[in-house]
Symmetry: C2
Subunit: 241 residues, 2 copies
Amino acid sequence: MTPPDLPATPAARRGRPPKARAATSVDTRESILDAAEDLFSKHGFYGVTIREVAREAGVDTALIHYYFTAKRGLFEAVFLRRAEVWNNDRVAAINRYAEAPGPGGMTLEGLFEAFLRPPFEWSLKGGPGWKHYAALVAQTNANPAFGGETMARYFDPAIHRLIELIKQVLPQAAEVDIYWAYHNLSGALTLTLGETGRLDRLSGGLCRSGDLESACAYMVRFAAAGFRAVCETSAVKVDHR
Amino acid sequence: MTPPDLPATPAARRGRPPKARAATSVDTRESILDAAEDLFSKHGFYGVTIREVAREAGVDTALIHYYFTAKRGLFEAVFLRRAEVWNNDRVAAINRYAEAPGPGGMTLEGLFEAFLRPPFEWSLKGGPGWKHYAALVAQTNANPAFGGETMARYFDPAIHRLIELIKQVLPQAAEVDIYWAYHNLSGALTLTLGETGRLDRLSGGLCRSGDLESACAYMVRFAAAGFRAVCETSAVKVDHR
DNA sequence: GTCTATAGCTTGATAGAC
DNA sequence: GTCTATCAAGCTATAGAC
């Protein structure tokens, strides 16, 4: 589902007449974003200089300030660009599933499959830009300084919709339990999308980080069982710090 | 179990005679490590300057080069310092459990409880340094540039021991399935130890990132159920990329 | 061991020509 | 829109006094 066909590389841009004049500035802006996305995803915000971005994009540093005012603005623009597509895709997928689930009604497996498939699809078939973006999100999610705030700002609305639907599948579940269970899923998802190669080493080559098809299938079943275990028995813990 | 009593703050250092002369240089080295750990955990390797570390540690920048040669050496020293304690603790805990499990024999819940408790304990009761360290590990685990390599170097031996014991509990499970299941657990663990505040926002204050007591309990049950679901039905996926 | 002083570079950002 | 030129500030690292 949701086959992504938007090319992420400027080289494959489609349907624009080659002679068009206005195309230039749009392409410049996009290629700056592509270069920044690539570099930020690998080395983080502070690990990348404006000059490196400019060099990889084939433009001058002054141009980056012209388009994005400051380095921080460039980062935000990178983050924003794909967040909307990503989120709309996921929300559309779970809504579609909720309206027409299988004969037995909604299941956690079906719901998670719908919710997780889009990011994995984009990462697999959307071109290198989407892989870079996924890694960037993974790193941001783990960032103690601004990770919580940034992730919340861009992704919480979509996740709240998911949680509404989980409540329909598990009507007796306590809200706290659902949130903590989701937190476990979120960690698994972002680590996997980061494709750090950790699993490859740990497993001695038995598993490959890039095998997102398997990753998605495993995650759906792991998370569904985890949610059930956490939500079906009462497990609200008292915080005795 | 495993009550940590090693103070992380220099102020609380115990048992050393105040007049001792040799203590000074050790304390200097340690306070540089403490400052670096704090800052690296918040802003990453490139987000921190030697000068900032020196200022926070109350020493000169030249001294940092004296002890650690270069910025990179400082980072590695920070990472190494607590890795050994952390890993030894975890391995000791699961070995202890394996030798004397409850009446019904080993369970996944018991095993994960033993394996996860030490990092949570240290983070809760080991002083601020351990919290910084946990956040540093969380960030490193998500780092695409050197995360996979660094994590493997410091943590894989302990995890291989865990996987051996999991195989004893689930003797029929395919090795691939175990590794993929562990990967899901690993993501959940590091995200949680990072305490980014994401969950607090998402849940509207219902859950708190700092409530590690609950986090650990949830994770044990979530992961145990996830492992069972993934390993008990044959789910080896073909990678059709 | 610890500091001062500084070399030698790179950084983010801008002013202004075209 | 795009580039050249440049600034002030900050960076890592080191040499050498004490």
